[in-house]
Symmetry: none
Subunit: 225 residues, 2 copies
DNA sequence: ACAAGGTGTGAAAATTTCTTTAAGAACCCG
DNA sequence: CGGGTTCTTAAAGAAATTTTCACACCTTGT
């Protein structure tokens, strides 16, 4: 479920966009000015921003530049200006796409999907990492060519870790992503235990892990070699 | 140096695009049909594809779908069709952007840059300072390229110091910001000790700090070099 | 119904980090 | 130069977090 933030002051257009995008796979949050937008950004973690350039309390470009200082979240600009220089300035301010009004909702939806798809594709096929071979489609995992049996939970955890290898994933994030199914409370220790089981199966010396490392006070990371 | 592959059969347009994009930061390889394109793709590793939909020996869309089975390389479609359905089909086939002819070369360049930027941005959160690289999002810290492990408190202190580098922060301010969680009293010396630990990890000669300097009677500062 | 493996729970042990203490060094100012 | 203040440093104890283990529950297939 992707989270989209829409900043659009025009009521009818805003509602139309919400309707066009809100679906089973995406949830749209709508704000009508920069102030609301900033608050929403601080509160939630969005997968995509759709930003009208002309807002009642300022320019969306300012917000864009501010965001780009700290985040790489995809941003689509929305505006009545189809002046060439406006487009260039918008894109160079850090936008990923630029749509000029009027536009068809079908095109908007397609461009939104294109941005959301970004970066999710490369997980096709087997993943070869120093000494390991992970194939999440076939559920086949090897360590130095030797097959290793992993349970479902272990696979989900390994997948999240490996797909984000090199970055530290907070315990909370891992609990969210790996135990996403039920809204039930899950003991935090379930994570620790699953980590241990993975280490026992994958690490040479489970008590001195080389790959699945713990980041004290934060979470875990899969170290890139 | 980014590598761009251009598939465009129109001679004049192709040359124009090459001129517009070929620069110090990007190298353009040009092909005039699908066959050449496939060969170029197998031979080289490209950072971006610009694909004309109408090519003499077939549709660029077919090539796009084929590429998308194994690769997430950014693709910009180029075409004379500005029919809404064409755009939607193109994007849903896996394109990241879609430009209809005629277009300005400045806009093309801006959209190309927007696509190339993606993937290089994620490390934009990193702060590069003389000899150091601090990435507070990924919690990755380097000294002359060598990773340094920092604890949570050390990270918080470093962040406050570095974000305000050049200015002297009173001890009281640092205690407030770094130990903001509990309203409890914290021994002032906790700060001194954390400073020492940071120095031990970051300074070349911890007893003679070059960066994390003491401002006697006031507090500490991160010296800009 | 039984066996086998997967999963979550709770509690103790181990580890890492933080705070406090205290002694000595460095600094500022008269 | 001397005295009071402020900072540095080491080490011990406290606190927080993670590891590890044993066991119970559940599902699945036999």
């Amino acid at each position: 479920m992707k989270k989209i933030l829409l900043l659009e002051d025009d009521g009818a257009l805003g509602r139309g966009i919400c309707l066009a995008l809100d679906s089973g796979s995406a949830a749209v949050t709508r704000c009508e000015n920069l102030l609301q937008g900033r608050q929403a950004l601080e509160a939630g973690d969005f997968d995509l921003l759709i930003l009208d350039v002309n807002l009642p309390d300022g320019s969306g470009l300012d917000l864009l530049r501010q965001i780009r200082r700290t985040s790489a979240v995809p941003v689509i600009l929305l505006t009545a200006n189809d002046m060439e220089t406006d487009i260039v300035v918008g894109l160079e301010s850090g936008a990923d796409d630029y749509i000029t009004k009027p536009f068809s909702l079908a095109v908007l939806r397609a461009r939104v999907n294109a941005q959301l798809r970004r970066g999710t594709l490369p997980q096709a096929g087997a993943l070869e990492l120093a000494g390991f071979s992970f194939d999440f489609d076939r559920m086949e995992f090897r360590k130095h060519g030797v097959p290793v049996e992993l349970s479902k939970t272990e696979q989900r955890l390994l997948r999240v870790l490996v797909e984000n290898r090199g970055t530290t994933l907070p315990r909370e994030t891992l609990l969210d992503r790996v135990w996403s199914d039920g809204a039930e409370y899950v003991d935090e220790n379930a994570l620790s235990v699953t980590v241990k089981r993975l280490r026992d199966k994958l690490e040479d010396t489970p008590s001195k892990p080389q790959y699945l490392k713990t980041v004290y006070g934060i979470g875990y990371t899969w170290a890139v070699k």
